[in-house]
Symmetry: C2
Subunit: 198 residues, 2 copies
DNA sequence: TGGTTAAACGGACAATTGTCCGTTTAGTGT
DNA sequence: ACACTAAACGGACAATTGTCCGTTTAACCA
């Protein structure tokens, strides 16, 4: 007896759900669209939707996966082409990509973060492959520098702190309050890194 | 005709709500307690509760206010008594107080942050007096140092980034993943600051 | 003290989220 | 081909969140 693979109808439903959700989100924004509405529009039962996605945040996360793949690929390329540049430039390159991403996918990211039940230990951003990817890449850059230092913070800790400081809500808050353009905020983060690495 | 002040019964209800919520939260934790349950237990209508607090996050925030006042007072004292110490020690002192606070009030803070509807521009942590207090104090310490530097990041930006990096969920994630004790994580943050200030 | 009025009240009513359970169906082995 | 079974299905149900609106009441002023 072999392992049952995912049923054909299940695969189709998965695609149908993502496609329907995408259309509704594009039309009305993320927050106003309810799970009931998504199920109704897709013509499936609500339980079918919930069986696949525990909540809207979970659905958003899946929608972001595809984008995340594209993003990490771009960063991989960038890191190859800039491998001979100083650490600061490489770090700043990664962060700029991240900033572009939150500018583009703000609604999805915020919905994901806010709906992810925080009691459920495995359900937040810090357990996504994307977080891990970013942290690893940034930590390895920090490690190059920190190795030469006494009393330096753990590279993963430094990377973690930097990632946290670029979470969407805080990012937009600062941008609005100080009236920074996207380019100005990128420059600010670059300077922060510069101080970190100095 | 003078300005109507808050009605006597309204003041009593406010106190009753906070007291009831505190008891229920102590007994069952923050998340499992519903707004309906709070209203029922307090013996008031649900609308009365919602008129005062838009959602559970709002209620948590009010419950944190008192604690926040105490916290900022402690920090003010600390800053006076340590005013002749180096910037690093003062900064680190503030952060340690903050870390103690999130260790103690984790449930309330997370409930507040996650329930604060992110669409509502004025409803997140970054609009609280506490955030502003922390950012101002830390920024003024950064300003002492940054003044002597070329190309330094905006002090408020640096303070903001540091505050973000100490948000409760990220804090506990890192603590658990790396298996740090509270003291070890404080030391890590101290080293991060050291690099910032160096 | 008594009338006026704005504010507070709370039960009942939506809307949304999340779950149960009896039914259907696609895959597997004979 | 056919029966069997595990998985998927979805409507109906429960719980929670959030709102409406007619009623009550405390503060103000004459």
């Amino acid at each position: 007896m072999s392992i049952r693979r995912e049923r054909k109808d299940a695969i189709e439903h998965r695609k149908l759900i993502l496609q329907t959700a995408l259309q509704l989100f594009d039309k009305h924004g993320v927050q106003p669209v309810s799970m009931h509405q998504i199920a109704k529009t897709a013509g499936i039962g609500q339980a079918t939707l919930y069986r696949r996605y525990a909540h809207k945040g979970d659905l958003c996360m899946d929608m972001l996966q595809e984008y995340a793949k594209q993003l990490t690929d771009e960063i991989d390329e960038l890191l190859v082409s800039s491998q001979s540049l100083p650490a600061l430039d490489r770090l700043s390159g990664i962060m700029n990509k991240w900033i572009d991403a939150i500018e583009e996918k703000f609604g999805l990211i915020v919905a994901m973060e806010s709906k992810m039940s925080c009691e459920d230990e495995r359900g937040n951003f810090f357990h996504t492959p994307m977080y891990r990817y970013f942290r690893d890449k940034m930590a390895s850059i920090f490690a190059e520098i920190h190795a030469t230092k006494e009393h330096a913070a753990d590279p993963e800790m430094a990377a973690h702190a930097l990632i946290c400081s670029m979470s969407p809500i805080g990012y937009f808050h600062m941008k609005q309050e100080k009236g920074y353009s996207t380019e100005q905020i990128k420059e600010q983060f670059r300077r922060l890194c510069e101080q970190y690495l100095a």
